[in-house]
Structure formats: C-alpha cells, structure tokens
Assembly symmetry: C2
Homo-oligomer: 414 residues x 2
C-alpha cells in the first residue's frame, strides 16, 4: 500500500515532488485498476499544488461526494451525466491542503446495499464490502494513499476490514456532510481510508483542523473494554479470533483489557437504527423515488418501498431511543473507566462473490451513537482474506480512538 | 392575502378547482409582481394535481432550495444558469401533498445579508427583510398562499414581521434541509410563510406528517413568559409597544403572562452564534470562496474574509456554549412553568431603503437553540408598516408555539 506519511516524508526531504507522487499513483492505477475496478473516473489533468501539508497526496473521492471538476454519479444511472456545480466542503478542504482529488471511487447506488462491480484486491472473487467499495479497494490495492468514504450503517468500517486497510468513521459531523448525497441526515458521516493508523490520523487532523487528533502520544496504557454486541447474531469464528488476538496484543503492550456487557438500552438503540435511517432515506430520496423508481436498483427500491410504510411516531420514538442511548454511552465509559471499546469490525472476512456487500450489524449502533470508530486490520483468515477489529471512543474523542488503534496496530506487528 | 385554508375550503366544497386556484394566483402575480419583485421565476406549465390535501395550493420556494423543474440561482451570478438534478425533499413533499411549487422566490445571495431587489408590499421604499425576502413579500402581497424560507439567524421571523405575515421557523430539522444550499449546518432551518397562524399550522402539520401540530386545541390558558433579551441592544419603541400590546391581548384572552429575565447563559450563547455560523459558512461555501471570490457580493465576501480567521477551538467552544444553553432552556420552561415565551420579532418595522435587510439580533439565540418560533403580526406603525411579535416554545413543541400564536392573533383581532 501507499503510505501517506511516507510519501510526505519523501516530498519534504526533496526526494520526491508532488508531481512525481501523483505519477506514482497513476502507475499504480494503470497496474491494478483493470483487475480491481475501484474507480469511476480519474482526472486526466488535475491541478497539482506544489505546496501544502498534503501536497502530492492523491485522494479518492466516493462518488456520492460532489466534485466540480469530475462527474458525480451516485452509483446510479439517474445521475449518469451529472456534474455538480461546486466541490463538497471536504473536497475543497483537501484542495486547500494541497491534496489532489484525483479519482472518483465506486459507490453502491446512493450508498445502499446493491453491489458495485469492484473486486476485493486480496481475492477478486470476493466483495470489497460497501458502500464505500472503491475507496477501500483503491487504498488496499496500493492505488491511492487516501480515500474518502461515508458511513450510514457500516459503510466505512466494514469495507476497511474486508480490504485490510485502516478506516475511520469520525465523530458525527467532525467532517461536514455538505455536498454529500444524503441517505440519512442523522447518520451519514464522512470517513477516511488509509494504509495505517498514523496515515489516517494525520489526514483527519489536517482535514478537521484539529492537530491533537494526530498527537495523542502513544496512548499510555489505555483501558479497553471488550464488547461483543450480544444484541445481534454472533460473528464468524474468525472475527472472534481476531478480537481475541487484538485484545491479547493490546494487553501485552500494557493496556488494561476487560470484558464489558452493554446494558439493554443499546440493544434497543441497535434495533431502531433501521427505522431512523429508512424514514429519513424515504425523504432524502423522495425525488428519485417519485420520478425514477424503475431506475433504482432492486435492494434500494425494495427498501424504499418498505420505508413508505414507516409511521412518523415510530421515527420520533426511534430518535428518543437513540438520544437516551447516547447519554447512556457516556456513563458506560465513565462508570467503567474505559478509554476505548474494542469490538468486531464485521462478522468475518469478505463474503464470496460480488452480489453481497456484507453485513453492517456490528457497525450500526456506533454510527447511531455518533462516536468515532476505527478499523484496525488484524490478520488473514485461512483463505488469505483480511479480518479486522473496531476501536471505539467517546463522542469527540477521535484522537483517543486513533491512539488506541495505533497501539493495537503496533502490538499486532510486534 | 390569500388564505391557504380558505382556498382549500372552496376547493373541498367544489366551488373552486385546483386549476382555478392556481389561476387566481397567476392573476395576483400579474397584478402585484411588477411592483414587488418577489419572484425569480414562475413555472409556466407546472403539473397541477387534482387531488391531495394541498391540491390547488401554489407555493413559493426560496431560491436556495433545489428544484428539478426550475432553476436554483442562490441569489448569485455564480449559479446564474444552474439547474439541480433533484427536488429538495421539502419540494418533493409538497408535490406529494398535491401542492404546486409554482415560483422561486428571491433570496439574498446564499441567504446572507446582501439585499435583493424585492420591495416591501406595504411600502415599496422599504425592505421586506431577508434573507427569505421574496417568500415573505409574495405572501404579504397576496400573490401566494404559502412559501418556503430558511433561517440561519433571523431569515424567516424577521421578514415575516416586516411584511406583516405569519412566519414559522420550526424545531431544528423538523423539515429536512437536504437539497437546501447550506450556510451553517448547525443552524439552517426550513420555515414557512402564510397569511394566518392556522394556515401555517395546517401546512406545517402536513409537511412534517404530524397532525397534532395543527390540532393543539385553543391553547387553553397558556402561561406566557415575556422575554426582552437584555443581552442585546434594546429595540425601537414600536417593537416594545407591539410586545406590550400582544401581552395585554393574550392576558385578556385568559393567558397567564409574566416577565422573565433569562440567565446569563443565554447572553453567552447569543454572543457565540456568529462564531458558529461563520466557521461553518467558511466550510460550506469553500468552493465559492476559493474559485469565485470576486463574484461574491460585498457583505458576504467581507464576512467570509473575516471567517477565515476563526480558530477551530473558538468554534468548539461555541458549540459547547450552545449545548449548555440548550439544556438550560429546558429548565427555563419547566422551572417557571411557561408554555411559551413572547418576545420581539425584530427591532422595529422594516428599515427604509432596500440596502439593509434589517437586524436579526432578536432571532439569533432562538435559531441557535433550535426551538420553534412564530411571527405574529400585531399592528401598523405610524408609517403604516407592520410590526410583529415572536412566540417561542420548547424544542419539538411546534404545535404549542402555533396554538399560543393563534391565541395572540385572535386576541389582537377581538
């Protein structure tokens, strides 16, 4: 994979120019893209800033994020020829930092569950996950050092795990969702994919203009709560094994590790995620549903058909349940003295075939809670496919989540 | 003015068809628009649904709200020829209810302070206010029975007061802001203008799919706290007189009315509104600022120039201050036993000239609190210009705000 910090170090040392770094990326794309199919389009002649803390860094932009210089197709024929007027603020910010939004990456249509043609770089017979399929796969394939995705259920953490890269879904609204095609305004969160925890932390700290995110130190001896999310179906043994391995590694590195059973409030919140998401999606995609229903892919069409029946009081009740759980989560951290939680990133490795982008059940509660989540790759399963874990911190504690994720990452290497 | 409920009653009784109702509106537009200048464009051949609870109701859509069938110019030359792909969810919802989004209404550029050419229907030498200038003026001029606006500081409540119409800024996110050009994602709120409180309540209840909003009964004998917002400069005597008159009328109608001095927390929250708004605007309009700064109008350009200097810790501190005040506001209501608050809608009647859209200082705190606010017209000043008051309820208590506003409206008539 291409490390953002490594590229930047070579540029800072005068051993590589920003133009040269973009050239490396183009070579990697020429080599890997035909097999992986992670990109919707590549800018043939982008502006390449000579300066800036991210100068020379090519970034993949999930194709539901508006770009003024490249089409934005939402993964849908309805937007086949669409070109937004403006860059989304996250894209404008990247340019302002010197980065080059070089390519649009594949997304499932409107970031729901219907698959993309993208293949898992570790085995083209497997899905890379979704909905941020292209962003995860492009970083995993070494084509891009950084890519933007979004998560409404598990669309960053899950594909990062399936592709063996680091993914971060930051605290809700740490990065603006303006100019990002909406599915659920209470849930949609812009996230990042990178080759390492340090790369992801560096990029997020710059994008959010909060240097502390990348400078939490070595996390000292964090107190880690192991969470198994018993309110949903158990994962595959390989996910359980990865969680146990990560926990042992963290403990060896000095962390205090303890099991934690979440109160029933969180099972209730988990159960209402779909009500909240789908009621908002019905509104967010009302024009598409009213005027182009037949052009919607089958899983999304069925979901929106069903969503028409959700009663407004059920939505209001779901919001109250989520609000109650968000408050309760603060107590879970403080009463138990935990710095972070550690849990599954996905039920197992990437499923076989491209028809199914995998299951987000271990991600949905945390998106609903709005808390920062980080995927750390742990190991390969018997078939050679990556399996990861998920590190979770309090709302606004993105730096601590990344610091603990970095500790786990280093401990697994050591 | 055109009353939505009156038009609907005539349609329901078979005395008017939806086509006929749209025809009435077109006649009114032909008669009044040349003087008022409230409309950016009118749909020459819209679909006019025969059925639906809002069939026959022509609606004005503020020109920062996306429409698939009409241009969306944001009040700016940068978007002169812009046509969005999709309707914003609020527009799709109106169509679904049978309404006709007939016209786009003028907006200050990007809903900031630079004026529109729209004139106050009560005196063409005065501003209608802003930023939802055209929506307020079109309803006031009897051209439209309903119009959508947005409020980030005081862009619904203030122009409603200046134009002598009812305006409601609902609870934050009661109506989705998806497809609405963002200025500040923590503040932007979609609101409505109508000829009476009952008209506004009926439309909001339908748009939000919450019938209770229009069926709170006659508000019984509400407990009303009079708030003078001493943390900012005092209003003109005419605004003070309107507040006193509305309070007396409410008391005569059976309300319990008492003065309420807000704790210092709210002055602090008021003071950080601009930090929060401008820091987000700098991001929301980053593309426009980076690529078309010279095409931005002077007040907005100066505001964005200044916003570049806001430090991220100041923004984070502003968010904490606002969060603290939001919690405190719940206590203000419950400890004092108030159903609603009553305060100024603006510092006075519409200023003379078109260069200045007026001051939002009596609106900004309440936008930041996310609570429902309603403008009720009270009287005309010596120059014949309307002066109104503002009714405010708890977050989520939109029905109670409208019920109390209805009581004040009736009491003033009686």
């Amino acid at each position: 994979m291409l490390s953002l910090l490594d590229l930047r170090a070579r540029i800072d040392a005068g051993r590589l120019t920003p133009d040269g770094a973009i050239g490396l990326v183009r070579e990697a794309i020429a080599h890997r893209e035909p097999e992986v199919g992670a990109l919707v389009c590549v800018d043939a002649a982008p502006v390449i800033p000579a300066r800036g803390p991210l100068a020379g860094i090519a970034v993949g932009i999930k194709d539901i994020i508006d770009t003024a210089d490249l089409p934005t197709r939402m993964g849908s024929s309805i937007y086949e020829t669409w070109r937004p007027r403006a860059d989304a603020p996250v894209v404008a910010r990247l340019k302002n930092l010197g980065a080059v939004p070089l390519a649009k990456t594949t997304t499932t249509p409107f970031a729901f569950l219907d698959p993309t043609p993208t293949r898992n770089p570790h085995d083209p017979g497997h899905t890379p996950g979704g909905s941020s399929a292209g962003s995860a796969a492009a970083v995993a394939a070494g084509m891009l050092p950084l890519a933007l995705g979004t998560q409404t259920g598990g669309s960053v953490i899950r594909p990062a795990a399936f592709c063996g890269v680091v993914g971060i879904k930051p605290s809700f609204r740490l990065l603006p969702t303006v100019g990002v095609k909406c599915y659920s305004w209470a849930l949609d969160t812009v996230g990042l994919f990178a080759a390492s925890v340090a790369d992801a932390a560096h990029a997020l700290a710059l994008m959010a203009d909060r240097p502390a995110i990348a400078h939490m130190g070595d996390a000292g001896a964090p107190r880690i709560g192991i969470v198994r999310q018993e309110f949903c179906a158990a994962p595959d043994p390989e996910a359980e094994a990865a969680l146990a391995k990560a926990a042992r590694a963290a403990e060896r590195a000095g962390a205090m590790v303890r099991d934690l059973a979440l109160p029933g409030t969180f099972g209730e919140a988990f159960a209402v995620h779909g009500t909240l998401q789908d009621y908002e999606a019905r509104q967010a995609l009302a024009w598409e549903y009213a005027t182009h229903r037949d052009a919607l892919p089958p899983l999304l069409r069925a979901a929106l058909d069903a969503a028409q029946g959700i009663e407004t009081p059920a939505y209001d009740a779901a919001r109250r349940t989520a609000h109650h759980a968000r408050r309760g989560l603060k107590d879970v951290f403080s009463e138990n003295g935990f710095d972070v939680l550690l849990t599954y990133a996905a039920p197992g490795a990437a499923p076989a075939g491209l028809a199914n982008t995998g299951d987000s059940r271990f991600n949905r509660l945390w998106t609903l809670m709005g808390v920062p989540c980080v995927t750390v790759p742990v190991e390969r399963n018997a078939a050679g496919l990556p399996v990861g874990v998920q590190v979770i911190a309090r709302f606004g504690d993105d730096g601590r989540a990344l610091a603990a994720a970095g500790l786990v990452e280093r401990a697994l290497r050591g």
